[in-house]
Amino acid sequence: MTLAEKILAVHSGRRKVSPGEFLNVKVDLVLSNDIMTPLIVKEIQRLGVSKVFEPKNVVIVPDHFCPNKDIASAEQAKLTRQFAKEQGAVYFEVGRMGIEHVLLPEQGLVLPGQVIVGADSHTCTYGALGAFATGMGSTDIAVAMATGEIWMKVPQTMKFVYQGKLPKWVGGKDLILYTIGDIGVDGALYSVMEFAGEAIAELDMDGRFTMANMAVEAGAKAGMFGVDDKTREYLTEHSKESYSAYQADGDAEYADIIEYDVSKMEPQVAFPSLPSNVRSVSQAGSVRLDQVVIGACTNGRLGDLRVAARLLRGKEVHPETRCIIIPGSQRVYLEALREGLIETFVEAGAVVSTPTCGPCCGGHMGVLAAGERCLSTTNRNFVGRMGSPKSEVYLASPAVAAASAVVGRIASPEEVTK
């Protein structure tokens, strides 16, 4: 069995499962946020259930439109807070929170071998730690919160093998953009993407979170990594809990095995308006930028901010470009502050925000006007994603984003380090 199949078998009380089978799966952790909890509360009430299945396994994070951006968002956040308190769920208030998919692993709430479902499509981020994690809608999440289980169809697994050594400035964001560019936004529809190979072994945890995060942009149900020394080291730092680490069997059956040689790969940029519309940065041409955003559940971790700071140190953001940097959690913010990264950003002329999903989904903290162009380390560049339907979003790594902020157009990190 593949990694995903093993976890699903254990969580449904079966010895073996195969792609296409329907299962009732026990969940270890259920997640929601400020924009989905109000719908979930309604559905739980409709179910006639007064208590969630296990309060310590229900996590609620107000991150999308928080700190409250307007009265309507404040009402949703209030309802979310009330529900979390009533249920005794794990809740992170503004000031202690982070972007959910940065926060949960950092808080040690995600462990290998778990099944995690969340009311946000980027719940698949936790596959970086060898968990089976997937996003669902509010009705599914209501049922999971109420009953501790959810139905799933066992997905087939596609294996992606990355050979060769990663070139300078090329990381997880480039690997996943390149892959989505190759297979398309429905290239892994209904499938699990399992990531492996020499370059993956070398990739740090932050890079793995980025890759797993964007599996859904290829239509996948989950994006997963096997547990290795880097995973164990991360878990030692962040959690005291014991866990079961599963590995794919040697004779596991894959729907497809796709190999890439990364040794000559350049940083990648996804052009509007699909994450699959990918080019190498040297082929980007001259694209002037009104705004650059560095952060999000995709790239808001300490490693991401370190890369950005390395390129912004002693430099200035281009006078016609606005650079917005959003640490993914309070802990990332504090560590960045202690390391002097925040000082570097402010001195370079960037704005640094409290953790929020804000600009990524056109919510607040950097919404685009008609005709404006933004290069962002987020995960989606659909029409209207960050504001006006007449604005444009380009996706890239923190390295390309920081370099582009300095140059004022899409630029390779090499351009500012020469």
């Binding site: 009732n24 009705t139 659909f382």
Partner: protein, 167 residues
């Protein structure tokens, strides 16, 4: 149940951000929210749609976010059924869970144009394009999904499972 209506036609990768932009997700009132259905891809949709109409699109319909508001506003706008070559998996689940019929048929999706008149039988999966005088058959639903839809949605299905467990 036979449905009859006109077609609103779209292409590939109609994402949840164009179905219902995230900037409106602070709106809790469904009537109000539905005024923005398809706004970023088709500004005329809301004024053009009539009760019982169909949305027909090609591949990967509903890709992107897990927001259930996407199938909710489509259903609330009066759309009786979405027909596509393929659906993104979260959208597909959400649609089933909230009782928005969804049918997969590449042939029907490709042969159908805007304003065509369709007659659809949800039980047999038959899609009759009256304008083009052509018949298509959608992929049959798996057994579990038929059970969920027969119960009226996931909440009703889960209620029964909870009762069986005696909780």
């Amino acid at each position: 149940m036979r449905l009859k209506g006109k077609v609103h036609k779209y292409g590939a990768n109609v994402d949840t951000d164009v179905i219902i932009p995230a900037r409106y997700l602070n709106i809790s009132d469904l009537d109000e929210l539905t005024k923005h259905c398809m706004e970023d891809i088709d500004g005329e949709f809301v004024s053009r749609v009539r009760l019982g109409d169909f949305i027909v699109a090609t591949t990967n319909f509903g890709c992107g976010s897990s927001r259930e508001q996407a199938p909710l506003v489509i259903k609330h706008s009066g759309i009786a059924c979405v027909i596509a070559s393929s659906f993104a998996r979260i959208f597909f689940r959400n649609a089933i869970n909230i009782g928005l019929p969804v049918l997969e048929s590449t042939e029907a999706a490709e042969a159908t144009e805007a304003e065509d008149e369709l007659e659809v039988d949800l039980v047999t999966g038959e899609i009759n394009n009256k304008t083009k005088a052509k018949n298509f058959y959608a992929k049959p639903f798996p057994k579990l999904m038929l059970e969920i839809t027969a119960k009226g949605g996931l909440i009703e299905y889960a209620e029964e499972r909870l009762k069986a467990r005696g909780t």
